[in-house]
Symmetry: C2
Amino acid sequence: MSDTQSELPDRAQLMLRSLIDHYVRDGQPVGSRTLARDAGLDLSPATIRNVMADLEELGFICSPHTSAGRVPTVQGYRFFVDTLLTVQPLDSRSIEKMRIELSLEQSAKDLVESASGLLSGITHMAGVVTLPIHEHALFERVEFLPLSENRVLAVLVTGEDEVQNRMLETEKHHSASELQQASNYLNAMFAGKDLAEVRATLLREMQETRSHMNSMMLTAMQMADQVLESKQNEDYVMAGQTNLMEFQELCDIDNLRKLFDAFNQKRDILQLLDQCVRSDGIQIFIGDESGYQMLDECSMVTAPYSADGEVLGVLGVIGPTRMAYDRVIPIVDATARLLGAALNQKE
Amino acid sequence: MSDTQSELPDRAQLMLRSLIDHYVRDGQPVGSRTLARDAGLDLSPATIRNVMADLEELGFICSPHTSAGRVPTVQGYRFFVDTLLTVQPLDSRSIEKMRIELSLEQSAKDLVESASGLLSGITHMAGVVTLPIHEHALFERVEFLPLSENRVLAVLVTGEDEVQNRMLETEKHHSASELQQASNYLNAMFAGKDLAEVRATLLREMQETRSHMNSMMLTAMQMADQVLESKQNEDYVMAGQTNLMEFQELCDIDNLRKLFDAFNQKRDILQLLDQCVRSDGIQIFIGDESGYQMLDECSMVTAPYSADGEVLGVLGVIGPTRMAYDRVIPIVDATARLLGAALNQKE
DNA sequence: GCTGGCACTCTACCGCATGGAGTGCCAAAT
DNA sequence: ATTTGGCACTCCATGCGGTAGAGTGCCAGC
């Protein structure tokens, strides 16, 4: 498996790894001297130079200008994380610390905030965590409260003790007792069922039995439908954005502006995170691989988190392409597990 | 009223105004030549220089270095806004546009977001609006829903059809009917009353009658108290933070980092905004007047907004000290009025 | 296949000169 | 007494040349 034609020779691999190590550490282009000294191979700089020329031809490294050492390219990093990387597993004490930190939080929202804080705090980059969405949440109960003439407040409680309020505009006025009946009916019929299933049933029934349905029933169903139709609002929590300002390579104003605009807008970032939630496992976008221009200088490492077997969301870290992937990956991985576990316990 | 001893001579005032005009426009130190040309006074640069020396002695202007024209100091801006400023009233077409923009929004939250968007959009700086808090909101009704063994969901509806959820931890389990009784009792007793008053009454009663009170009552009151004790969560919405990155004078990374950290933290900014809500009218902090280091290079122009005679919050603009106060002030003023009016209508 | 040597290139830095902008002051003019 | 032109001075920004250092590519020799 060493130097057959299409395979990268071992020592080239070693050198690429060493070069990336160096570059990640101190951000300067790495020259043949340095590598000769530190790569472990006992070779002269001249030899190193030859191999570096090969690596450059393969597109793994490049030099910013003629006499300036080499810098990893996106493809270089890609090859590195795909085939060279050996992650350093997190020591159990750090993990324990994180677990404790998370165990202090009460609500799902607090947990998510704490997790993104942890990510950014440990990595000194930006941490991001999507809010958990329970695709298969259970309908627990619904209550309708009359507010004014034709406005009704619906309160929907789902299986995880999460609560949604919803203001409904109704066509005619409903008395408190009418509403009570409606909610009783729905609660009796659907308590404990899967939300999606509830909705499907509702839609079907509304079509089939519309004609000979008494008005109360109809109202109840319409309301329940209105409550349920709200697609769960996707959103994320981010922490440590300002950490990114410390990195020289991200620091030109134009880039920063694009980045922070994207963070505020949320749309693009959400779309990207959405791609990561599907693939089950660590996902890494390096530089322009993300396809979003504002992240051209950045990398993103994500992992989905799940509780009770169901994937609830995704979390990750955004930082400069020049990041210590071997350190970041296990952190993201561990955080995802811990968050999942913590969410499981709270239920 | 021209040149008595302590009064600043008219032409010095004219010059200060003209100098600030220039400096705000193009950010370069202003020299005597430029001023002689554009200030309107028919004087030679030499004369101008004499007067500028006076202005410098008074602390209104200073030069960044020996041969570099003059720049307004914080005190210079302060004098300018306090005594020289003539605001340009907004033309009614712009106002109408803003009104329409706001009229499209439904909820209070949307309105606030739209308002901060307007502020940042029009001024090209950062817009900030606190969420409205109804100090004298009316208690309308409360409902308690049992969730699990000793957790109860309280839903509080206030006079403006605003809804607060609150999860309560109770010592013992309460049945649905117990809770129903409790809420009936509270609703009968307090509907339509001022929230603060309700709370005061509750506290008093709880002390006086604790001993011979039946357990249901006690529960009801404890719950109501828990619901009400939550200080209304102060918060704000901000838009256009990234606009601030366009200003040269704010653009060093260190400053930006402090600024954006403060925006995320929210605490300090909230404290500052809190000072503005009390003073009724436009409030302006220039440079270090705010007392917060991260705003040393910034100014903030705020106005409280109110509906129905009650002050609900405050909104404003944050930008570089070098801002067109005469343009910004009427914008902030108008936005505050429009937001107040819009909130009034929605109720 | 590895290595030392060598010429070459490019950057970063320093010192220096120069032009321009603006000041402060003074003596003359109004 | 105020205003003005003149003048010397200061300081910044810019550009230029020279130099040191880092690193490369290539080649001939081991």
